[in-house]
Symmetry: C2
Subunit: 178 residues, 2 copies
Protein backbone atom coordinates (compact mmCIF):
# COMPACT_ATOMS: atom_id res chain seq x y z
CA UNK A 1 0.00 0.00 0.00
CA UNK A 2 1.29 3.48 -0.83
CA UNK A 3 0.69 6.32 1.59
CA UNK A 4 1.42 9.79 0.26
CA UNK A 5 1.74 13.11 2.06
CA UNK A 6 0.98 15.97 -0.31
CA UNK A 7 2.33 19.38 0.70
CA UNK A 8 -0.46 21.96 0.83
CA UNK A 9 1.89 24.76 1.92
CA UNK A 10 5.63 25.24 2.43
CA UNK A 11 7.37 27.94 4.46
CA UNK A 12 11.09 28.67 4.24
CA UNK A 13 12.47 29.04 7.79
CA UNK A 14 16.22 29.34 7.25
CA UNK A 15 18.67 29.33 4.38
CA UNK A 16 22.24 28.92 5.63
CA UNK A 17 25.61 28.13 4.13
CA UNK A 18 25.09 24.36 4.39
CA UNK A 19 21.52 23.63 5.44
CA UNK A 20 18.06 24.98 4.70
CA UNK A 21 15.04 24.50 6.93
CA UNK A 22 11.42 24.56 5.86
CA UNK A 23 8.04 23.81 7.39
CA UNK A 24 5.52 22.02 5.18
CA UNK A 25 1.88 21.41 5.94
CA UNK A 26 0.94 18.04 4.45
CA UNK A 27 -2.30 16.22 3.80
CA UNK A 28 -2.22 12.76 5.36
CA UNK A 29 -3.73 9.61 3.79
CA UNK A 30 -6.85 10.06 5.98
CA UNK A 31 -7.32 13.68 4.84
CA UNK A 32 -6.08 15.26 8.07
CA UNK A 33 -3.32 17.89 8.06
CA UNK A 34 0.08 17.54 9.77
CA UNK A 35 3.24 19.67 10.02
CA UNK A 36 6.56 18.42 8.66
CA UNK A 37 9.77 20.16 9.76
CA UNK A 38 12.31 19.45 7.02
CA UNK A 39 16.05 20.03 6.78
CA UNK A 40 17.75 20.19 3.38
CA UNK A 41 21.42 19.24 3.10
CA UNK A 42 23.70 18.95 0.02
CA UNK A 43 24.64 15.32 0.84
CA UNK A 44 28.07 13.82 0.85
CA UNK A 45 30.38 10.90 0.31
CA UNK A 46 32.17 8.54 2.71
CA UNK A 47 35.08 6.31 1.72
CA UNK A 48 35.99 2.94 3.22
CA UNK A 49 39.68 2.87 2.28
CA UNK A 50 41.31 -0.54 2.86
CA UNK A 51 45.09 -0.84 2.53
CA UNK A 52 47.01 -3.82 1.13
CA UNK A 53 47.99 -4.50 4.77
CA UNK A 54 44.27 -4.97 5.64
CA UNK A 55 43.91 -1.71 7.54
CA UNK A 56 41.01 0.75 7.31
CA UNK A 57 41.75 4.48 7.32
CA UNK A 58 39.86 6.32 10.06
CA UNK A 59 39.87 10.04 10.79
CA UNK A 60 39.34 11.43 14.26
CA UNK A 61 37.89 14.92 14.41
CA UNK A 62 36.01 17.24 16.71
CA UNK A 63 32.26 17.29 16.13
CA UNK A 64 30.51 20.31 17.57
CA UNK A 65 27.06 18.69 18.11
CA UNK A 66 28.67 16.27 20.60
CA UNK A 67 31.48 18.55 21.87
CA UNK A 68 34.01 15.76 21.39
CA UNK A 69 36.12 14.06 18.75
CA UNK A 70 34.84 10.88 17.15
CA UNK A 71 36.08 8.23 14.69
CA UNK A 72 34.78 8.33 11.14
CA UNK A 73 35.75 7.18 7.68
CA UNK A 74 37.13 9.96 5.44
CA UNK A 75 34.16 11.90 4.08
CA UNK A 76 32.99 15.23 2.82
CA UNK A 77 30.08 17.22 1.51
CA UNK A 78 29.15 17.42 -2.16
CA UNK A 79 29.88 20.73 -3.87
CA UNK A 80 26.97 22.02 -6.02
CA UNK A 81 26.79 19.92 -9.20
CA UNK A 82 29.71 17.71 -8.19
CA UNK A 83 29.67 14.02 -9.19
CA UNK A 84 29.74 11.87 -6.04
CA UNK A 85 32.52 9.64 -7.33
CA UNK A 86 34.72 12.68 -8.04
CA UNK A 87 33.84 14.07 -4.62
CA UNK A 88 34.93 10.80 -2.96
CA UNK A 89 38.24 10.75 -4.82
CA UNK A 90 38.83 14.42 -3.88
CA UNK A 91 37.95 13.97 -0.21
CA UNK A 92 40.09 10.83 0.19
CA UNK A 93 43.03 12.73 -1.27
CA UNK A 94 42.45 15.91 0.79
CA UNK A 95 41.98 14.16 4.13
CA UNK A 96 44.45 11.27 3.84
CA UNK A 97 46.72 12.04 0.88
CA UNK A 98 45.79 8.68 -0.69
CA UNK A 99 44.70 7.86 -4.19
CA UNK A 100 43.14 4.51 -5.04
CA UNK A 101 43.50 2.15 -8.03
CA UNK A 102 39.99 0.86 -7.38
CA UNK A 103 37.02 2.96 -6.29
CA UNK A 104 33.85 0.86 -6.06
CA UNK A 105 30.34 2.12 -5.29
CA UNK A 106 28.75 0.45 -2.24
CA UNK A 107 25.45 2.33 -2.26
CA UNK A 108 23.90 5.27 -0.48
CA UNK A 109 22.53 5.96 2.97
CA UNK A 110 19.70 8.14 4.30
CA UNK A 111 21.11 9.30 7.67
CA UNK A 112 17.79 10.41 9.18
CA UNK A 113 14.96 10.02 6.66
CA UNK A 114 12.16 11.32 8.89
CA UNK A 115 13.11 14.97 8.49
CA UNK A 116 16.47 15.24 6.67
CA UNK A 117 16.98 14.92 2.89
CA UNK A 118 20.74 14.25 3.19
CA UNK A 119 22.06 11.33 1.09
CA UNK A 120 25.50 9.87 1.83
CA UNK A 121 27.16 7.86 -0.94
CA UNK A 122 29.66 5.20 0.12
CA UNK A 123 32.70 4.00 -1.82
CA UNK A 124 35.21 1.22 -1.22
CA UNK A 125 38.76 2.32 -2.10
CA UNK A 126 41.50 -0.28 -2.53
CA UNK A 127 44.92 -0.36 -4.18
CA UNK A 128 45.96 2.70 -2.18
CA UNK A 129 48.98 4.92 -2.88
CA UNK A 130 50.00 7.24 -0.08
CA UNK A 131 50.79 10.92 -0.61
CA UNK A 132 50.50 13.98 1.60
CA UNK A 133 47.17 15.15 2.96
CA UNK A 134 45.96 18.69 2.21
CA UNK A 135 42.82 19.31 4.30
CA UNK A 136 40.66 22.42 3.98
CA UNK A 137 41.67 25.42 6.10
CA UNK A 138 38.87 24.73 8.61
CA UNK A 139 39.54 20.98 8.87
CA UNK A 140 41.62 19.68 11.76
CA UNK A 141 41.81 15.91 11.96
CA UNK A 142 44.05 12.95 12.77
CA UNK A 143 44.42 10.14 10.25
CA UNK A 144 44.72 6.60 11.63
CA UNK A 145 45.47 3.26 9.98
CA UNK A 146 43.60 0.62 11.99
CA UNK A 147 43.57 -3.16 11.30
CA UNK A 148 40.21 -4.34 9.92
CA UNK A 149 39.74 -6.72 12.85
CA UNK A 150 40.23 -3.85 15.33
CA UNK A 151 37.76 -1.61 13.45
CA UNK A 152 35.18 -4.39 13.59
CA UNK A 153 35.78 -4.71 17.33
CA UNK A 154 35.47 -0.92 17.80
CA UNK A 155 32.09 -1.09 16.05
CA UNK A 156 30.84 -3.97 18.21
CA UNK A 157 32.16 -2.25 21.40
CA UNK A 158 30.38 1.05 20.55
CA UNK A 159 33.63 2.97 20.20
CA UNK A 160 32.66 3.81 16.60
CA UNK A 161 29.20 5.38 16.47
CA UNK A 162 29.15 7.37 13.25
CA UNK A 163 26.32 6.13 11.02
CA UNK A 164 28.09 6.24 7.64
CA UNK A 165 31.20 4.58 9.14
CA UNK A 166 29.33 1.55 10.52
CA UNK A 167 27.11 1.39 7.42
CA UNK A 168 30.15 1.61 5.14
CA UNK A 169 32.55 -0.68 6.98
CA UNK A 170 30.08 -3.51 7.68
CA UNK A 171 28.79 -3.34 4.10
CA UNK A 172 32.35 -3.30 2.73
CA UNK A 173 33.26 -6.36 4.80
CA UNK A 174 30.19 -8.22 3.47
CA UNK A 175 31.11 -7.10 -0.05
CA UNK A 176 34.75 -8.22 0.24
CA UNK A 177 33.58 -11.57 1.67
CA UNK A 178 31.64 -11.97 -1.62
CA UNK B 1 45.78 15.12 19.42
CA UNK B 2 42.61 16.88 20.57
CA UNK B 3 41.17 19.73 18.55
CA UNK B 4 38.46 21.75 20.25
CA UNK B 5 36.03 24.29 18.83
CA UNK B 6 34.92 26.69 21.54
CA UNK B 7 31.68 28.57 20.86
CA UNK B 8 32.20 32.33 21.16
CA UNK B 9 28.57 33.10 20.29
CA UNK B 10 25.36 31.17 19.70
CA UNK B 11 22.23 32.38 17.91
CA UNK B 12 18.89 30.54 18.08
CA UNK B 13 17.45 30.37 14.53
CA UNK B 14 14.37 28.17 14.93
CA UNK B 15 12.61 26.29 17.68
CA UNK B 16 10.05 23.88 16.27
CA UNK B 17 8.01 20.95 17.50
CA UNK B 18 10.77 18.42 16.85
CA UNK B 19 13.96 20.24 15.86
CA UNK B 20 15.81 23.37 16.90
CA UNK B 21 18.36 25.17 14.75
CA UNK B 22 21.17 27.38 15.98
CA UNK B 23 24.18 29.13 14.51
CA UNK B 24 27.37 29.09 16.59
CA UNK B 25 30.52 31.03 15.92
CA UNK B 26 33.45 28.86 17.04
CA UNK B 27 37.13 29.43 17.62
CA UNK B 28 39.20 26.92 15.66
CA UNK B 29 42.43 25.28 16.93
CA UNK B 30 44.48 27.84 14.95
CA UNK B 31 42.56 30.77 16.51
CA UNK B 32 40.49 31.58 13.44
CA UNK B 33 36.69 31.84 13.62
CA UNK B 34 34.21 29.62 11.78
CA UNK B 35 30.42 29.28 11.62
CA UNK B 36 28.69 26.08 12.68
CA UNK B 37 25.07 25.51 11.65
CA UNK B 38 23.66 23.05 14.18
CA UNK B 39 20.41 21.10 14.34
CA UNK B 40 19.14 19.75 17.67
CA UNK B 41 16.91 16.67 17.68
CA UNK B 42 15.46 14.65 20.60
CA UNK B 43 16.98 11.38 19.34
CA UNK B 44 15.27 8.05 19.02
CA UNK B 45 15.35 4.28 19.12
CA UNK B 46 15.36 1.63 16.39
CA UNK B 47 14.56 -2.02 17.00
CA UNK B 48 15.93 -5.01 15.08
CA UNK B 49 13.17 -7.51 15.84
CA UNK B 50 14.02 -11.09 14.82
CA UNK B 51 11.30 -13.75 14.94
CA UNK B 52 11.77 -17.41 15.91
CA UNK B 53 11.30 -18.12 12.18
CA UNK B 54 14.42 -16.03 11.42
CA UNK B 55 12.57 -13.09 9.93
CA UNK B 56 13.25 -9.40 10.56
CA UNK B 57 10.33 -7.02 10.95
CA UNK B 58 10.52 -4.08 8.52
CA UNK B 59 8.13 -1.17 8.23
CA UNK B 60 7.51 0.63 4.97
CA UNK B 61 6.43 4.24 5.29
CA UNK B 62 6.32 7.48 3.33
CA UNK B 63 9.21 9.83 4.09
CA UNK B 64 8.59 13.42 3.07
CA UNK B 65 12.28 14.41 2.48
CA UNK B 66 12.47 11.83 -0.33
CA UNK B 67 8.78 11.94 -1.44
CA UNK B 68 8.60 8.15 -1.40
CA UNK B 69 8.16 5.22 0.95
CA UNK B 70 11.24 3.40 2.22
CA UNK B 71 12.05 0.32 4.30
CA UNK B 72 13.14 0.80 7.90
CA UNK B 73 13.25 -1.11 11.15
CA UNK B 74 10.52 -0.11 13.64
CA UNK B 75 11.64 3.09 15.34
CA UNK B 76 10.50 6.24 17.02
CA UNK B 77 11.53 9.47 18.66
CA UNK B 78 12.28 9.77 22.37
CA UNK B 79 9.71 11.66 24.44
CA UNK B 80 11.23 14.23 26.82
CA UNK B 81 12.82 12.38 29.75
CA UNK B 82 11.94 8.96 28.36
CA UNK B 83 14.33 6.04 28.93
CA UNK B 84 15.51 4.71 25.55
CA UNK B 85 14.81 1.10 26.47
CA UNK B 86 11.21 1.95 27.44
CA UNK B 87 10.88 3.96 24.22
CA UNK B 88 12.05 0.96 22.18
CA UNK B 89 9.58 -1.40 23.86
CA UNK B 90 6.77 1.14 23.33
CA UNK B 91 7.60 1.80 19.67
CA UNK B 92 7.90 -1.91 18.82
CA UNK B 93 4.49 -2.49 20.38
CA UNK B 94 2.85 0.54 18.71
CA UNK B 95 4.17 -0.10 15.21
CA UNK B 96 4.10 -3.92 15.06
CA UNK B 97 1.97 -5.12 18.01
CA UNK B 98 4.90 -7.27 19.20
CA UNK B 99 6.38 -7.62 22.64
CA UNK B 100 9.75 -9.30 23.17
CA UNK B 101 11.09 -11.68 25.85
CA UNK B 102 14.60 -10.37 25.21
CA UNK B 103 15.52 -6.74 24.48
CA UNK B 104 19.30 -6.32 24.16
CA UNK B 105 21.18 -3.05 23.67
CA UNK B 106 23.33 -2.98 20.51
CA UNK B 107 24.71 0.56 20.89
CA UNK B 108 23.96 4.00 19.52
CA UNK B 109 24.45 5.79 16.22
CA UNK B 110 25.21 9.40 15.27
CA UNK B 111 23.25 9.78 12.01
CA UNK B 112 25.05 12.91 10.78
CA UNK B 113 27.59 14.10 13.36
CA UNK B 114 28.84 17.13 11.40
CA UNK B 115 25.80 19.28 12.18
CA UNK B 116 23.11 17.14 13.88
CA UNK B 117 23.08 16.14 17.57
CA UNK B 118 20.59 13.29 17.04
CA UNK B 119 21.49 9.98 18.72
CA UNK B 120 19.72 6.77 17.69
CA UNK B 121 19.82 3.86 20.13
CA UNK B 122 19.52 0.37 18.68
CA UNK B 123 18.01 -2.71 20.34
CA UNK B 124 17.80 -6.35 19.31
CA UNK B 125 14.41 -7.85 20.18
CA UNK B 126 13.94 -11.63 20.19
CA UNK B 127 11.42 -14.04 21.68
CA UNK B 128 8.60 -12.12 20.00
CA UNK B 129 4.90 -12.42 20.82
CA UNK B 130 2.52 -10.97 18.26
CA UNK B 131 -0.39 -8.72 19.21
CA UNK B 132 -2.20 -5.94 17.33
CA UNK B 133 -0.41 -2.77 16.27
CA UNK B 134 -1.68 0.60 17.46
CA UNK B 135 0.26 3.30 15.60
CA UNK B 136 -0.02 7.02 16.38
CA UNK B 137 -2.79 8.92 14.57
CA UNK B 138 -0.30 10.45 12.13
CA UNK B 139 1.55 7.20 11.40
CA UNK B 140 0.65 5.23 8.30
CA UNK B 141 2.86 2.24 7.66
CA UNK B 142 2.98 -1.34 6.42
CA UNK B 143 4.57 -4.02 8.59
CA UNK B 144 6.50 -6.76 6.79
CA UNK B 145 8.11 -9.99 8.03
CA UNK B 146 11.14 -10.59 5.80
CA UNK B 147 13.58 -13.55 6.05
CA UNK B 148 16.99 -12.50 7.41
CA UNK B 149 18.71 -13.68 4.25
CA UNK B 150 16.44 -11.51 2.10
CA UNK B 151 17.00 -8.45 4.32
CA UNK B 152 20.76 -8.92 3.97
CA UNK B 153 20.33 -9.12 0.19
CA UNK B 154 18.17 -5.97 0.18
CA UNK B 155 20.97 -4.15 2.04
CA UNK B 156 23.65 -5.31 -0.38
CA UNK B 157 21.41 -4.47 -3.40
CA UNK B 158 20.75 -0.91 -2.11
CA UNK B 159 17.03 -1.53 -1.68
CA UNK B 160 17.41 -0.69 2.03
CA UNK B 161 19.10 2.69 2.49
CA UNK B 162 18.02 3.86 5.92
CA UNK B 163 21.08 4.43 8.11
CA UNK B 164 19.77 3.01 11.40
CA UNK B 165 18.35 -0.05 9.59
CA UNK B 166 21.65 -1.03 7.94
CA UNK B 167 23.62 -0.10 11.10
CA UNK B 168 21.22 -2.13 13.27
CA UNK B 169 20.71 -5.18 11.07
CA UNK B 170 24.39 -5.71 10.15
CA UNK B 171 25.43 -5.17 13.78
CA UNK B 172 22.70 -7.55 15.00
CA UNK B 173 23.84 -10.23 12.56
CA UNK B 174 27.45 -9.86 13.78
CA UNK B 175 26.17 -10.01 17.37
CA UNK B 176 24.05 -13.13 16.80
CA UNK B 177 27.00 -14.82 15.04
CA UNK B 178 28.90 -14.30 18.31
Amino acid sequence: MIYYEKSVSSEQIYSGKIIKVRLDKVEMPDGSLADRELVEHPGGVGIVAVTDENEIILVKQFRKPFEKDIYEIPAGKLEPGEDHRECGIRELSEETGCRADSFEYLGFMYPSPGFLDEVTHIYLATGLHRGSAHPDDDEFLDVLYVPVKEVRQMIMDNRINDGKTVFGVLKALEFLKG
